[in-house]
């Protein structure tokens, strides 16, 4: 059974249809790259999966459980959505770290707030908080940021910020980690260090959806590639096939821009 199934998602902003009948599925431990030009609906799709946008139509299932069904209002209550969001992690293009917290605090904040809701929190408070801090430190060291734990975001480079943001998303153990153009706000030098981290995650079989304009990276890291255009999935398949032998004219046209460059 696929870990993620998306059926017939549609989303309209005003008069613009941003997503049209999107269907996709993803197996546990696999990485999916979504490529396509700006405005093709890639980001909106990720935002729908993370409940930052509400699809007008369609169903989202994770591990067979229906998280969202446009026809079933009971799946759309604010309280229910909050818990379901935790199935997904989202790494933003411009990081959105919390500026008033250190790198370590950024990673710990959400876990701490969730822990406080556990019934046994009062009794085991110290133990739980120590556990959270140890986990956060471990994540930061995996991101190569052990020596940056006590720095504030404005003291970090863009690449370091993005790695903190990845650690922050991983801290909640999402089933599926989504990246929304994680390197688009970075210069080429910093892009490398972020891509390296994502490659490592792929090696550890983290289930991921990556929206990116880095074609080489998309090809290398992904088990499956989707090409989107004007809100439609134009073509999908394994990376070698989509990148080397695209069938659709639109895909060829899009990829040709990258081959020249």
């Amino acid at each position: 059974m696929p870990i993620l199934e998306v059926n017939n998602i549609c989303k309209t902003f005003g008069h613009t249809q941003v997503l049209r009948h999107i269907n996709l599925s993803l197996e546990k431990g696999q990485a999916l790259s979504i490529i396509g030009s700006s405005g093709s609906g890639k980001t909106t799709l990720l935002r729908c999966l993370n409940f930052l946008e509400r699809p007008d139509q369609g169903v989202i299932r994770v591990n067979g459980e229906t998280l969202f069904d446009a026809d079933d209002p009971s799946t759309q209550s604010e309280a229910a959505i909050r818990r379901k969001r935790l199935r997904f992690g989202l790494v933003f293009q411009s990081f959105h770290l919390f500026p008033q917290y250190t790198a370590l605090e950024n990673v710990m904040l959400a876990r701490k707030l969730l822990a406080a809701e556990q019934p046994d929190f009062k009794a085991r408070k110290r133990e739980i908080l120590e556990e959270i801090e140890a986990q956060a430190n471990l994540l930061l060291s995996q991101m190569g940021l052990s020596n940056r734990a006590s720095n504030y975001p404005h003291q970090l480079s863009g690449g370091q910020c993005q790695r903190v943001a990845i650690a922050r998303a991983l801290a909640l153990h999402p089933d599926i980690l989504c990246f929304d153009e994680p390197t688009s706000a970075l210069d080429p030098e910093l892009t490398g260090e972020v891509l390296r981290v994502i490659r490592d995650l792929a090696k550890q079989n983290t289930t991921m959806i990556i929206v990116t304009h880095e074609m080489t990276f998309a090809r290398d890291v992904a088990d499956h590639v989707i090409f989107m255009d004007e809100g439609v999935i134009v073509e999908q398949g394994d990376p070698a096939q989509v990148f080397e032998h695209p069938e659709e004219e639109r895909t060829k046209q899009f990829l040709s821009h990258y081959k020249q460059g």
Binding site: L52, R82, H96, F98, P99, Y152, A169
Partner: protein
């Protein structure tokens, strides 16, 4: 000059008492207007349109009319028009009326500052909180609030310093604040009459107090400099 030096201890004593009343009104106004302003700000930002319209209307009226008129209406309206003198007589009644007018007036000004502060925090902050499973209230108190405070300290400082001076308006309903105390020496008080210098001298009180406030607010601004 010699006369002034002789009168000084008596005058300072009376002005101190008056300034205490000024200070009381200042503090009560801040304590009331800080939270009330936040509530009004949320009202005017509400997605429930009727609430947002009514709130904006109230803010328009309060900001669009002189505080002095508001003081007069709040103090005299219940007793003279409704025949229901809710404030009671005496200094306590006047203080309650003045506090009500000041809290309401300043809350409306603060609400606009809060609104600007909240709206200047990037939406991404809220979205980051949401995808991390935080509740809206947690996002406000743990993420947005401090960033908002950092942004509103300079405009707030302005309002707070204006408030110190505005408290003198309460003199219109005969609240015995520092200017009232200074003026009393013109008509005659504590055996001194026809002296106008005590009224001028009240300015020193405002100046010193605002100097202290400026230092404190500057320190707060510095303290929040640790993040950007």
């Amino acid at each position: 000059m010699k006369l002034i030096l002789e009168q000084m201890p008596i005058v300072v004593n009376a002005l101190n008492i008056g300034f205490l009343q000024t200070l009381k009104l200042f503090i009560v106004t801040l304590v009331g207007a800080f939270p009330l302003g936040l509530i009004i700000a949320f009202g005017s930002m509400s997605r429930f349109k009727p609430l947002s319209y009514v709130t904006k209307l109230v803010v328009w009226v309060v900001r669009g009319t002189p505080l002095m008129i508001q003081l007069l209406i709040i103090y005299y309206f219940p007793g003279l028009i409704l025949n229901n003198p809710i404030w009671g007589g005496g200094e306590t009644g006047r203080f309650l009326a003045a506090s009500t007018a000041f809290i309401f007036n300043y809350a409306c000004y603060f609400s606009e500052i809060y609104r600007g502060g909240i709206q200047s925090v990037p939406v991404g902050q809220q979205e980051a909180g949401l995808v991390l499973g935080m509740k809206k209230s947690q996002i406000f108190f743990r993420v947005t609030l401090l960033q908002m405070i950092k942004r509103i300290v300079p405009p707030m400082s302005n309002e707070i310093i204006t408030l110190v001076k505005d408290t003198s308006l309460s003199r219109i309903i005969a609240l015995q604040e520092v200017i009232w105390a200074g003026q009393s020496f013109m008509k005659g008080s504590h055996g001194i009459s026809g002296a106008i210098w005590p009224l001028f001298f009240t300015a020193v009180y405002y100046l010193i107090f605002n100097g202290i406030l400026t230092l404190l607010l500057g320190r707060l601004e510095k303290k929040l400099d640790y993040f950007r």
